[in-house]
Symmetry: C2
Subunit: 427 residues, 2 copies
């Protein structure tokens, strides 16, 4: 970890450089695979699944027996934990429901904003060594609450064609409509273009490796929406002398273990705290099974001494972290100073992993500075708003000339005429 | 116009094919220009402005005297029309404000969703023959209401370096912070990367030609958010025998005059109405100054006879039109059947041009089927939501083991440990 003390503000931009991946460089690799699946459908899907995942079968879709067997098999303690997390996530996301907005902007001119579910959504759940059933909760629950009618999920199978029971248990718990044994580029292509077996969707959600990201970005250029651009995971911890160095070190490491390109930053106003956290990180990292990953992530990471809480807030707002932990006295007073962050964790007893699993907030969050412009996944990520207007004839007599004047000034005569023919009919 | 009577539903997908542009094919053209501006800043901006817009000057930014002179010069009738439209747009978008959502998902586990403005936004207003001041209203008003602190606008200058007074009047009316005389790729590049003069923003809004679209898409891959992917404008009119063929024809033409690639569709349950509208379109199009454009757009366009209101709704929902006009009896009963549309116009006296200018709804809407997944521009387009959580120590004693169980099952030991060290400290 790099230790930096009282850096001048001109150097901040440099300090907050992120390790970036060039996703667009992968388009040349991704595009032919996607095109092939777009044109050859299931046959191409099976070939790529064999090539990339080593699984070969006619059966792409998970069937009801596989789900029932997973439900029966899963450890009851884990089931119960998943159920508690699901309840909290459901409670918090239910709160995000929107009511229609309606007003008369002028007498007789009624305007309505109405939220509707995105009918067909696709969730991508990565495979690999660990089953990310928590992401099934984070995407599936708001999708169901939003009222999406088709909730499709793709996740890569093991070589023997099985899917981890925790993933299948969670998928049936939250109400996923159909589950497909597909990973990587082929999963994104299938949900984008549709095949004989896999339905096309309107929006694709979920994390993945850089090929999945590139495929999602390519799909977004073609015909679907995606949740957000994704980059490596990040945390920024703000600590004053009221923080607990053991807790801070554990929080930093919980991001660092995500991937070698993860970035963790601690800002502190206390030189003592900086030293203590550095020592704690060194100690704790050695006990981690994913030490080899965390150590690499720590190479990108920084412990920075700053002069005041205000300076720390300014740095954090410039960085726009995915996760922001406020381990400082009077953290509640700081909330109104936050300008950009994905999700915020208050005080010494709110670890970032609570938000990853069970507090109720969503863990699909903007990285790489995109917290400046993107929200984390929330209920509205699965909805769209439409507007509706109705103008009474007598109101058009008043508003019509306004429209005619503006349309004429924009040289759009047919726009004007759509009003003129109506005003004539009324007079 | 193509006339189709009672097409079998298997042929619908074919009937609703849109004329599509291949935006990604322009990346090879756009990328070097953007890279050049990214590295050489203002100097490159001036060169491209000279090359593409024929304007050469040290002055990229509009100054206060130019604005004052525009305000003084603009026709008072047009000013008043703009003011009325601005009031309606402001009233409707004000209604879209969000309050914070807050709950205890479990006792002692507090979760908050909070909306914040996107601090820095960029608005692109195309130039060309007509000054699109209405787009300044549609983007500038919600930006200001959202509380964006930096609202930057770029619009291409005439060869003599002037900007249309209607654009400058509207920009000062809605509270744009800074205005730059920049068009095309160079405007998007400047707002994406920032130069000595033009600040970088976090999200870019606004319409433009295919180069502008390609530049926005490229920028979105690099580091900013954009409002939505854009395609040619569209309208779908649903008419039964209660419709007025003169009005319907005028509405179809008001979309057709936008561009040769615009698409207009009428669905009707009445063979007579179809004939009457076809005749009216032919008559009215000849009177348009933009007839040469509208005629080309009509080549892409269709009048389709269907058997019932339900069939029309089903077709419309599959097509997901940018604009949907319901010129049918009992239109209010149909609202709940709408699954996808950008903006909806009810009855015979609500022309689509009302929404383009002055009813209060936004005219920046999803095209090309993206109404399936995207909202039109609204107040929240200029905001992002963040989540905040706070867990009381006694609540972590209950929730902590849930997190530990889940983190362990996902093989993320450091995530678990962030809870374990805290539970130990509490016991």
């Amino acid at each position: 970890m790099q230790i930096v003390k009282n850096p001048p503000s001109e150097s901040w931009q440099q300090l907050m450089q992120r390790p970036t991946a060039n996703i667009t460089a992968l388009f040349d690799y991704v595009k032919p695979v996607m095109d092939d699946i777009s044109s050859r459908g299931d046959a191409a899907l099976r070939e790529y699944t064999m090539r990339f995942d080593g699984y070969s079968s006619e059966e792409i879709e998970v069937n009801i027996w596989e789900i029932e067997s997973a439900v029966a098999k899963l450890n009851p303690g884990l089931k119960q934990a998943i159920n508690v997390a699901a309840r909290n996530i459901e409670k918090f996301h239910s709160l995000q429901q929107q009511s229609d907005r309606e007003t008369e902007t002028m007498p007789g001119v009624r305007c309505v904003q109405k939220y509707l579910p995105i009918e067909k959504v696709g969730l991508y759940i990565p495979g690999g060594s660990a089953p990310l059933f928590s992401t099934v909760l984070m995407l599936g629950i708001p999708a169901r609450l939003a009222g999406c009618s088709d909730i499709v999920m793709c996740t890569p199978p093991a070589k023997d064609g099985t899917i981890d029971p925790a993933i299948l248990y969670t998928a049936q718990l939250v109400g996923i409509t159909r589950i497909f044994k597909l990973g990587g580029i082929q999963a994104i292509a299938a949900m984008t273009y549709g095949t004989e077996t896999v339905p096309a969707v309107y929006k694709i959600f979920g994390p993945g490796n850089s090929y999945v990201m590139a495929a999602k970005q390519w799909a977004a250029l073609a015909k679907v929406a995606i949740d957000m651009p994704a980059g490596p995971s990040e945390v920024l911890v703000m600590a004053d002398d009221s923080a607990n160095p053991e807790f801070v070190a554990a929080d930093l490491l919980s991001q660092a273990e995500h991937g070698a390109d993860s970035q963790v930053i601690m800002l502190t106003t206390s030189a003592q705290m900086l030293d203590k956290v550095a020592k704690e990180v060194e100690k704790q990292v050695q006990q981690l099974p994913r030490e080899y990953i965390a150590v690499k992530a720590l190479d990108n990471s920084k412990l920075i001494l700053l002069q005041s809480i205000d300076e720390m807030m300014e740095f954090s707002n410039m960085y726009a972290p995915e996760h922001l932990i406020l381990s400082v006295k009077n953290y509640r007073n700081l909330i109104k100073q936050i300008k950009s962050a994905g999700s915020v964790f208050l005080g010494n007893y709110t670890p970032e992993s609570a938000g990853d699993y069970a507090s109720g907030t969503n863990h699909t969050l903007p990285t790489n500075g995109f917290a400046n412009s993107y929200s984390g996944v929330n209920l509205l990520s699965f909805m769209k708003s439409i507007t509706i207007q109705e103008i009474m004839p007598e109101a058009l007599e008043i508003l019509g000339p306004v429209i005619e004047t503006m349309a004429e000034a924009e040289q759009l005569q047919a726009h004007k005429n759509a009003v003129t023919v109506r005003l004539k009919a009324l007079s």
